[in-house]
């Protein structure tokens, strides 16, 4: 698998991780990003994943992945053990996204965070005109089944980063699987990726 085959938010992250660095991928799923990072950027990648079946897939492809819950298990990693802590489309599932952000910036010198933007115009339109919790391409699961318990917008995230004293190094926004510019991202972006430091 190569960068171009990754989900757009993961491709943006993969393209900007410095080769040879140490990375913790939190909620690494089947390890697609880790595999690309190890193969193409000589990155020393570690993963944390809740689902045993996903961990099994990762182990089978030779990746170092620990089964565990990011809400509780990040505490076991030493300070600044990684150059990057990566949290892709997992922030909105955390029991306390604010504390999760603290942990990311504790274990990693830098962090990449990606999430679906709840203020995308489709989501707003679905709520405004439908009057029901939005089900969109980016958020396809009904409100009672979704793991996304803390919906977040681009502007909310910027505000959280500010409150936490985290510096936004760079950001990328995506709509229709393509990168779009930053202007009016809170309205136009389906997904966002932020690179943070503290």
């Amino acid at each position: 698998m190569s960068i171009s085959q990754l989900r757009p938010d993961l491709a943006a992250i993969a393209a900007h991780v410095v080769p040879g660095s140490r990375v913790l991928d939190i909620g690494c799923g089947d390890g697609a990003l880790m595999a690309v990072l190890e193969a193409q950027s000589q990155v020393d990648a570690r993963g944390l994943e809740l689902e045993p079946a996903q961990v099994e897939r990762c182990v089978a492809r030779g990746l170092s992945v620990v089964q565990g819950d990011a809400d509780s298990d990040l505490a076991n990693y030493p300070d600044k053990a990684f150059d990057y802590a990566i949290l892709s489309q997992t922030l909105q599932t955390a029991s306390r996204p604010d504390l999760m952000l603290d942990e990311l910036l504790r274990v990693g010198k830098k962090a990449f965070v990606s999430f679906p933007n709840f203020a995308h115009w489709r989501t707003r339109a679905a709520l405004m005109f439908g009057g029901r919790m939005p089900m969109t391409r980016a958020l396809p699961v009904s409100w009672y089944e979704t793991q996304n318990i803390h919906h977040v917008t681009v502007d909310d995230f910027r505000e959280l980063a500010r409150q936490k004293g985290a510096r936004i190094e760079r950001s990328w926004f995506f709509a229709n699987e393509k990168e779009i510019g930053a202007p009016a991202a809170n309205w136009r972006a389906e997904f966002a990726v932020f690179e943070l430091s503290r």
Binding site: D44, R46, P52, A53, V55, E56, C58, V59, A60, R61, G62, L63, S64, V65, V66, Q67, G68, N76, Y77, P78, A81
Partner: protein
């Protein structure tokens, strides 16, 4: 106890130093191997056996005639593929299947019995390392073990980190808990309370302490199973009868099963070996050996680790594996961990489990 079975054996040309400060001379290590050894010796998988296991991991047991204890895992095209790997499994010292143990002859020609020195898990691994040395194998592709075998794999990684490229630890622990020690003590006391034990001096004449050993096995066997598994398998069903006997026969199926397990065990295992090996497990505390902090044990480790636990294992529960994983993380080691779901408690590592097969196969890739 039958006579020593005919395995390959390596006689060490040096004394084996022990953690107790004593040393053991004239040591023999009995082992089995499967699959071709690559010319550069790069394809060795060392399998470490559990408390009552032996070297017959993938071939018939010479006394019982039963298939190897991990035949479902080890063999041609199995997860540990003997078409590809050269698999070595040795009987640990202290045991009774050909490696030097309490039933072996001491220098005076009589069995050691209780004169055999108390050994540790690290001493067992010293024996394994000596075997590798004797076979000219500097570094194994993978060391793998379940239960006490996992302790040996951890001990090898901690004390001889350059000897294993990958370390696979299944249903194991970095230390014996009070509960673990307690169950073992019940077993030891059962053996020592058997009049036939005679302070361990039963080899020359008279019966072996089979009753005590059988009780020890029965108590231990309970810890290998889950309550759910026992309930499913036996419930309160009666054994070959319609009503309770109002006596002390094995009325219940579970009683009959345990008695069968106990008496079967005495045919293939030596009571003194059971004392020595359980003691070694009770003494096991990897952190204590290294100044008290488990993360320090693995400082600078370059091996890749994989740990697997089972959700119904209450002997070495998932928390024990996680404890090791956290230490490896803190040391910056490459580690994978997964808790698998299985109904059969600690014994799950020996039973059919497709996910375990895929993890083992994948980790060895």
């Amino acid at each position: 106890m039958a006579a020593s079975p005919a395995s390959k054996a390596l006689a060490l040309d040096h004394d084996l130093p022990l953690d107790s400060g004593q040393s053991l001379s004239g040591v023999e290590i009995a082992y089995e191997s499967y699959g071709e050894l690559a010319e550069d010796k790069s394809n060795v998988v060392l399998i470490c056996h559990a408390l009552t296991g032996d070297q017959y991991v993938a071939s018939a047991h010479p006394i019982t005639g039963k298939p190897g204890w991990w035949e479902r895992m080890v063999g041609p095209r199995k997860p540990i593929d003997t078409d590809r790997f050269h698999v070595i499994c040795a009987n640990v010292i202290g045991s009774c299947m050909g490696s030097t143990g309490p039933a072996s002859e001491a220098s005076d020609g009589a069995p050691y019995a209780m004169r055999f020195p108390v050994i540790t898990i690290r001493d067992m691994v010293r024996g394994l390392v000596a075997l590798l040395d004797g076979l000219g194998i500097e570094r194994v592709h993978t060391v793998v073990g379940g239960s006490m075998g996992g302790m040996q794999a951890l001990s090898l990684a901690a004390n001889w980190p350059e000897r294993a490229e990958r370390v696979l630890v299944i249903a194991s622990t970095a230390r014996h808990s009070a509960q673990n020690i307690a169950f073992h003590e019940v077993g030891r006391q059962a053996i020592m309370a058997d009049p036939a034990w005679k302070d361990g001096d039963y080899y020359a004449s008279g019966p072996s302490p089979d009753n005590g050993l059988a009780v020890a096995r029965m108590a231990a066997h309970i810890t290998y199973l889950s309550e759910e598994g026992l309930t499913e398998k036996f419930g309160r069903r009666l054994q070959n009868r319609d009503t309770k006997s109002f006596g002390f026969d094995a009325d219940f199926q579970v009683e009959s099963y345990l008695r069968y397990q106990g008496s079967g065990f005495t045919q293939r295992f030596d009571a003194n070996s059971y004392l020595y090996i359980t003691r070694a497990m009770d003494y096991f505390d990897l952190a204590e050996e290294h100044g008290g902090k488990l993360a320090d044990v693995f400082a600078g480790a370059t091996s890749r680790f994989c740990l697997v636990s089972f959700d119904t294992d209450w002997l070495y529960p998932t928390a024990e594996s996680r404890h090791i994983v956290h230490a490896l993380n803190a040391a910056g080691a490459k580690v994978s961990f997964v808790e698998l779901s299985a109904p059969n408690g600690h014994d799950s590592f020996l039973l059919e489990h497709e996910q375990l097969d895929r993890v083992v196969k994948g980790f060895l890739e």
